[in-house]
């Protein structure tokens, strides 16, 4: 293992300030986004983790009460950095936007009472997406006395199937708002998204459908001129069996006698019970079961190998995170963050 690199250099994404994380449902994109935000905060830096789907996934992951529309510190990185979190909600974003640009105050609340805010945020997803990405844009650009307020922003974005449409705000708004601030705003957001400061990372697992969606997603992002970042392969299982054994297992040619001898050596032959007569059959059943399980395991490993090749064809930096059989808790998020740093993602 190499020594831990200093956090501000030698990563694959130097110069990137906005990390957008997408993935098919069920691949763990929120977990990866959170781990990345922690990893990027390491070494006394400050990151903002945003969600936009009204799902409170961040709060659940960090085991804190639901997040309001307000930046809150939710975690401290191992050597002193801070992770802030924000759940972006379109209505609140619109009211904030009106306040900022039009100093509406009471009129803003009246608009809400009349249903105008609902109207504007639901009428066209394009407008809603501009408001959501607009808030991310604002946070990314915000500056304090000593430079940018956040060193990096991680966006837990909509799933792979919808990501290009979500980010391609310009395209979405063009037919609806032909001129005016929303249109202009969309233009500014687009130029940040297409700049070298932004990347879109794709989270997947080694199964057919998620890998297929990752390929489709990468293709669509490129088509829209949006920067494809890394591929994070999540929930990877450690290789348990050597290649030679896998090959034999796949062809149903494992040496049953050898397995049996091993079980007996391990004391699973069932000394007392074996003597009772049906111990032999019981042991034979166990051998059958283990051999059958190994066969199925080999099929899965072969499938995963195929999927790895498919992903390699995308020719993007690829990171792997292990499957955590016990589920994700706060402690394991730190472990995942460390793994991402070791692999150069942060």
């Amino acid at each position: 293992m190499p020594a831990t690199a200093p956090p501000t250099s030698d990563t694959d994404w130097d110069g990137v300030r906005l990390h957008i994380v997408t993935g098919k449902g069920g691949t763990g994109k929120t977990t990866v986004a959170a781990a990345l935000a922690l990893a990027l905060a390491a070494g006394g830096r400050r990151t903002l983790l945003c969600e936009v789907e009204n799902r409170q996934g961040i709060a659940q992951l960090f085991d804190v009460p639901p997040l309001p529309y307000e930046e809150r510190k939710i975690a401290v990185a191992p050597d002193g950095g801070d992770v802030f979190a924000l759940a972006i909600e379109p209505k609140a974003a619109l009211l904030e936007y009106l306040e900022l640009f039009y100093r509406l105050g009471r009129a803003g609340r009246m608009l809400e009472r009349l249903g105008a805010v609902d109207f504007a945020t639901t009428i066209a997803p394009g407008v809603r997406d501009v408001l959501l990405t607009g808030k991310v844009y604002e946070a990314a650009r915000r500056r304090g006395k000593a430079g940018p307020v956040y060193d990096a922003i991680v966006l837990d974005a909509p799933p792979t199937g919808r990501i290009t449409q979500f980010l391609n705000v310009n395209e979405e708004v063009v037919g609806l708002a032909k001129v005016g601030p929303v249109r202009n705003q969309a233009g500014s957001i687009m130029s940040l998204l297409r700049s070298p400061q932004t990347v879109v990372h794709l989270v997947t697992v080694l199964e057919e459908m998620p890998v297929q969606e990752t390929q489709d997603g990468a293709h669509q992002l490129r088509g829209a001129g949006l920067p494809v970042g890394g591929v994070v392969v999540n929930m990877v299982r450690d290789p348990v069996l050597p290649q030679r054994v896998l090959a034999a297992a796949a062809r149903g040619r494992l040496d049953r006698d050898l397995v049996l001898a091993g079980l007996e050596a391990a004391g699973l032959g069932g000394r007392g019970r074996a003597a009772a007569g049906n111990g032999g059959t019981r042991l034979a059943t166990l051998v059958d079961g283990l051999v059958a399980e190994a066969g199925e395991h080999a099929v899965r490993v072969a499938l995963e190998t195929t999927q790895r090749k498919e992903l390699a064809a995308l020719d993007r930096p690829t990171y792997e995170l292990p499957a955590l059989p016990g589920g994700i808790d706060l402690g394991s998020l730190y472990d995942l963050a460390e793994l991402l740093r070791e692999q150069g993602m942060a």
Binding site: D118, A120, P125, E172, L254
Partner: protein
């Protein structure tokens, strides 16, 4: 065995599918749990058991779609090849094209001239292709159409053109509840106060009120115009008033959709994977169906990890593998024991999650479908899933 005591009531899928009064089966659940595959497997099984079935899928994975012969997305049911029809059944399948379905609704209800005007409206284009809820709404619209078409064929004596069972897959929404709420949301949005005021200020009532409202709307309108640009509100106004004269209210349509879901002969099958999030969604959905008096058939717990050598616990297997490492020379057995220990851990975790669901909802029938190494992409695979579903 201890396991039987805490086991839920089994879901009898064959009884559900064979019952001639079952006319609609709705498969719902959160995204990524295998709803489409479940819907297709249920449809195939029902057809091969003698029913005339149409499966309405929303967004099938490419290879699953190919397995049912769904190569083109033309928004109409097509016969599925390779189905065993000896029991007298048949299987058709279709993929929903939501924009096309919305266009058809417009075309069916407006004069050609007016329809043209609506279809060209930019607001309509945004709404019909991307409003969060259009897909759900159009799935229901399509379900209604399939039912109507079937009833008409039957009435005309053309029984071979009628379906007696519609199996519906629901859109891949983030939350299972979106499906129930979307038609209402779209309906009330289009029928919303602000749109009413914008499009028909004269309806607002007394003159004094009108004046206040006009000022407010004026301000609101001005602000929206400033933000979104001139022309935007104009487009909205044209669109909504055009729709308004056609339908006499979207809300009414949404209500009718809702009634269809509550009708006798509709059965909901909630699909979940053994993951905390998916099961939490399934719980919400089960509770919601109960409070809306919608008929729940049961829960399909998909992709459950099972083990073959079930008598050997993960702990014992892992310990034995370690012992072998120490003894040395039994690499093969140690490896196999580790594969088994891993599998048992997954099995135990899935079981614990299933038990948690069952203790919260003891009356909900459940069927578990074992996880497979490979995705399903042919009728044979769907048939195998159908078998697992029927094992209850």
């Amino acid at each position: 065995m201890a396991a039987t005591a805490r086991r839920s009531r089994p879901l009898d899928v064959d009884a559900l599918l064979d019952d001639p009064t079952t006319r609609v089966v709705v498969c719902c659940g959160s995204g990524g749990v295998g709803k489409t595959t479940t819907a297709a497997a249920l449809g195939l099984r029902a057809a091969e058991r003698g029913r005339r079935v149409v499966v309405l899928t929303i967004d099938p994975a490419r290879r699953l779609a190919q397995s049912m012969g769904l190569v083109e997305l033309d928004n109409a049911p097509r016969p599925v090849k390779g189905v065993d029809t000896t029991a007298g059944g048949a299987l058709d399948a279709m993929m929903l094209d939501m924009k096309r379905t919305f266009d058809e609704v417009i075309e069916a209800h407006a004069t050609p001239e007016k329809a043209q005007q609506i279809l060209a409206n930019p607001f309509y284009q945004a709404l019909s292709s991307s409003f969060a809820g259009t897909q759900e709404y159009m799935a229901m619209e399509k379900l209604g159409q399939l039912r109507t078409r079937s009833d008409a064929a039957k009435a005309a004596g053309r029984d071979d053109e009628a379906w007696d069972l519609v199996v519906v897959d629901t859109p891949p929404s983030r939350s299972a509840l979106d499906f129930l709420d979307a038609p209402q949301r779209l309906g009330s949005f289009l029928d919303g106060r602000f749109i009413r005021i914008l499009t028909a200020p004269a309806k607002a009532g007394s003159r004094a009120y009108l004046k206040v409202v006009s000022v407010a709307v004026g301000t609101a309108g001005n602000v929206l115009t400033k933000i979104l640009g001139a022309g935007f509100l104009g487009d909205v106004q044209t669109f909504v008033s055009a729709l308004d004269t056609m339908f006499g209210g979207f809300r009414e349509r949404a209500d009718r959709t809702y009634q269809l879901l509550q009708a006798d002969g509709t059965a909901f099958v909630v699909v979940a994977a053994p993951e905390p999030d998916a099961l939490r969604e399934a719980s919400y959905f089960v509770e919601r169906l109960g409070s809306e008096r919608m008929p729940l058939a049961g829960l399909v717990l998909n992709r459950v990890h099972v083990a073959i050598a079930e008598d050997l616990s993960s702990e014992r297997a892992a310990a034995a593998a370690e012992d072998l490492d120490e003894i040395g020379g039994h690499v093969l057995t140690a490896g196999l024991l580790r594969v088994h220990a891993d599998r048992m851990r997954r099995r135990d975790r899935d079981r614990a999650l299933a038990v948690r669901f069952t203790s919260a909802h003891p009356s909900v029938p459940v069927v578990e479908v074992p996880a497979r190494a490979e995705d399903v992409h042919d009728l044979e695979g769907l048939r195998a899933i159908g078998e697992d579903l029927a094992k209850g």
